[in-house]
Symmetry: C2
Subunit: 341 residues, 2 copies
Amino acid sequence: MSTNINTLGEFGLIERITKPFALKHAQSLKGPGDDAAVIDSGNVLTLVSTELLLEGIHFDLTYTPLVHLGYKTIVAGISDIYAMNGTPKQVTISIGVSARFAVEQIEEIYKGVKIACDKYNVDLVGGDTSASLTGLTLGVTAIGEVAKDKIVYRSGAKNNDLICVTGDLGSAYLGLKLLDREKRVLDGVQNPEPQFEGYEYLLQRQLKPEAQRLAVEAMADSDIRPTAMIDLSDGLGSDLLQICKASKMGARIYLNRLPIAKESFKLAEELNIDPVVAALNGGEDYELLFTVPLHRQNDLAGIPGTEIIGHMVPESKGCALITPDGQEIAITAPGWGTETE
Amino acid sequence: MSTNINTLGEFGLIERITKPFALKHAQSLKGPGDDAAVIDSGNVLTLVSTELLLEGIHFDLTYTPLVHLGYKTIVAGISDIYAMNGTPKQVTISIGVSARFAVEQIEEIYKGVKIACDKYNVDLVGGDTSASLTGLTLGVTAIGEVAKDKIVYRSGAKNNDLICVTGDLGSAYLGLKLLDREKRVLDGVQNPEPQFEGYEYLLQRQLKPEAQRLAVEAMADSDIRPTAMIDLSDGLGSDLLQICKASKMGARIYLNRLPIAKESFKLAEELNIDPVVAALNGGEDYELLFTVPLHRQNDLAGIPGTEIIGHMVPESKGCALITPDGQEIAITAPGWGTETE
């Protein structure tokens, strides 16, 4: 028996391999399937999330500054803690690195780790350092906490809840496409001078993304507790499906409500990419996707950069994008190893 | 400036890259440099440890059954929790896997993960699944807890404390050497039939090691709290140096007290390897190395499989192995990317 991973996709695979596991400890409140594991520590809940960043899949050392890579690794880890409405407190970093790396290069990575740790007020508390034969490997574990009455799972969205996103979508993906283009164009060129003018924002979104600390803090200040939340690491379509599945709901989002940066529109046209497809499938934006009850609509004005893009519907109606002319386009799950995972 | 990693070694590298980090949160009790991070969760201490297992460095898929690999990944993670005198409660598993893997192969890995989770009574609570271009990558984060008055760091060893180990040393390394030999001998042979007879114990130690739960539980029953403890993943020499460094002490261990299995002696002779070198530098035994005050010597009889191999001395005397004829051999730190890391 040999089943190709592609037939299941990433989420189908996770579901299949984790199904035989039942939780044994009363303190283990949440098993695999949310942004972070949730452990009852008595007074508060402890959140633990873990991510791998692999050379060739998550980053290309041709154009990724090592200091940014260290920074992004921390952001990728703590973003999951914010997505549970928590506060990250500690991180561990594991690194597998070949002997061809110089100590100074590893220090560059950790310089970025430190800048992110300082900015987001988290402690580096451990890790693992290993030789690698197979490219640079980074692992991050983020540990955070949240009050018991503040935690937000993916599973709490209710009918008619508003669907909101922070920031803009697809820009990290378009930044990657720009880097890929310049890499191809300049392949073999001596003293290459890549053309990035006007697109600095997209590069920053790809190479040095931020986690949504301000949005989570603003929601706490406005006493808004989302009914469901997830971080946008896989792409709006895929991540919305996760909320729908966990909440046993459907969703309608509106194409002309999707926040897309003007730089994204411009580069998408230049590269002949549909900017809406970039927003839906691009991933790595590290923005937050969340739902709030309809009656909190007016309070959302206090959450910086937040847009309402749609609303939840009963599960039977499925998950769809509505175009300006009223067409419904079904949102479906991505496959395995799509380029932005 | 380009400094080769080998000039620092693994521990020198860790020290250098983590030095700029200061702890910001009062709850972060212990930063990098022990078996696990220690976080004050109010009533108890939360322990978090993380490990990477990389294809070609930590395992060779030619001869590693996937079910054992999953089992060993859990053991590598929770062994660090026991080494803090704690109880592992949860684990997360991250996996980077190429599309050439079939779903059934990944299920084999998770079958081993489940057997280990059931045996050691830990919950799988999360993880990350990703495509990989660069070989199979496994990451494990183990989460555990320990009462505040029971935690054991590497740093508490005192002068005259007894140095103890559980189990036997070097057998995992010799198991690896046996597998390597059969791989070389049978390279290109159709229907290879490797010769492992009489060495099943060594194979099991390499492919399916155990964590030292029983020793930790027996010490608790006997009311023994070690003054310092570490798990033997890097090799007795290297791990003893860690205790000495953290405790600002020296050590004397006695060659003829080192517990070495009879199968190890036999295979070492066959392969022309010094079994003492295997015990000192081999690594991956996942036994515990710990120190206890001299006056607890008689109580150690209640800890199954524990041997006293030496005692702590003042830092100025350094760390040495004493041969039966009274020679002192200095114990030194290993380099980078030694084969058993």
